[in-house]
């Protein structure tokens, strides 16, 4: 970001004062939207295959809503604590930022732990990813969301390193903003997951 740009359309003065951080965040927003399309295809697959149990155990007999509610609580709270981390960053409070990010990381870990536990439990009950079309679609959708959460947590670890190295630099704020978009986006996807997969699956 510090490098001077030799613009071939350099006759526009404002070009030199361009908001590169803004471009990065907007570019990341476009990525998030393309990720929405990815999840839409997985939701469509699930919608089409959700009743094709092919003799394997039915989702109705396996889903435990208390458990899903707890998972939802963890992810929802983590979205809120991430918001607090961003607020701390705006107030230039490094301690607040790192503290709330760590809380968010902890909540994310709890969520992933519960999700993996659930997958293991389901697989033992005869609902493995290879059992039937419905269960393959289920694992593809929920697993992709889980992988995203995992990626978000790796990103948090990298950001911790960068924060300790560079402090609250402009670059780090832009990175934090992108991660914030990503994390809230995952929460939004989870809302669709618990509504369409779990709640409607049990009805």
């Amino acid at each position: 970001m510090g490098t001077p740009r030799v613009g071939y359309t350099g006759y526009i003065e404002e070009e030199l004062h361009h908001d590169y951080g803004g471009d990065t965040v907007f570019g990341f927003w476009i990525y998030i939207l393309s990720d929405c399309v990815l999840f839409a295809t997985l939701f469509a697959v699930f919608a089409v295959l959700q009743n094709n149990f092919a003799g394997t155990i039915d989702a109705r007999d396996l889903f435990e809503l208390d458990y899903v509610l707890a998972e939802t609580g963890l992810l929802l709270t983590s979205s809120f604590t991430f918001g607090l981390a961003v607020l701390s960053a705006n107030q230039k409070s490094m301690r607040g930022l790192v503290g709330w990010l760590m809380v968010t990381f902890g909540l994310g870990t709890g969520f992933l732990y519960m999700e993996i536990n659930e997958f293991i439990h389901f697989t033992h009950e005869g609902a493995a990813a290879w059992s039937s079309g419905a269960w393959s679609a289920f694992y593809a959708l929920i697993g992709t969301h889980g992988l995203h959460v995992f990626a978000g947590m790796l990103w948090m670890l990298v950001l911790f390193g960068l924060l300790f190295k560079e402090g609250l630099s402009e670059n780090n704020i832009v990175r934090l903003m992108c991660l914030s978009l990503f994390w809230h986006f995952l929460d939004i996807i989870w809302i669709c997951v618990f509504s369409f997969v779990y709640l409607m699956g049990v009805l």
Partner: protein
């Protein structure tokens, strides 16, 4: 260095900062909109159609709450491209999901007819 040439309330890329009260309201609304559909399904007191409609309404409501209170989307000119691209993607998502379900249902229907 990047020249962040925006108002107090807006960060890079039209991302707004929000305030603590905004996040608190967002969290409270999210909790309510999560509790309602879970309560409906867990109690099983309503019939299926009503339940589905209520779950859908709560889901849409909660996504809106998250977009407004956590992602701070609004219709300001700084965010025009964020919003326009999002609306386009909502259209794509609808075509993908509704289209897939529609086609596959017709396919099932036609297969049964030939049976």
């Amino acid at each position: 260095m990047a020249h962040v040439q925006t108002e107090n309330t807006h960060g890079p890329g039209g991302s707004a900062h929000g305030s603590l009260s905004e996040y608190m309201v967002g969290l409270s609304l999210s909790i309510i909109l999560t509790a309602i559909p879970f309560a409906i399904v867990m109690s099983g007191s309503l019939n299926e159609t009503t339940s589905i409609v209520l779950i859908l309404l709560c889901a849409v409501g909660q996504v809106m709450v998250q977009l407004v209170f956590f992602l701070h989307m609004n219709t300001s000119s700084e965010q025009m491209w964020n919003s326009v691209s999002a609306v386009f993607v909502i259209l794509l998502v609808m075509i993908l999901i509704v289209g897939s379900v529609w086609i596959m249902q017709h396919l099932n229907h036609n297969m049964l007819m030939g049976h």
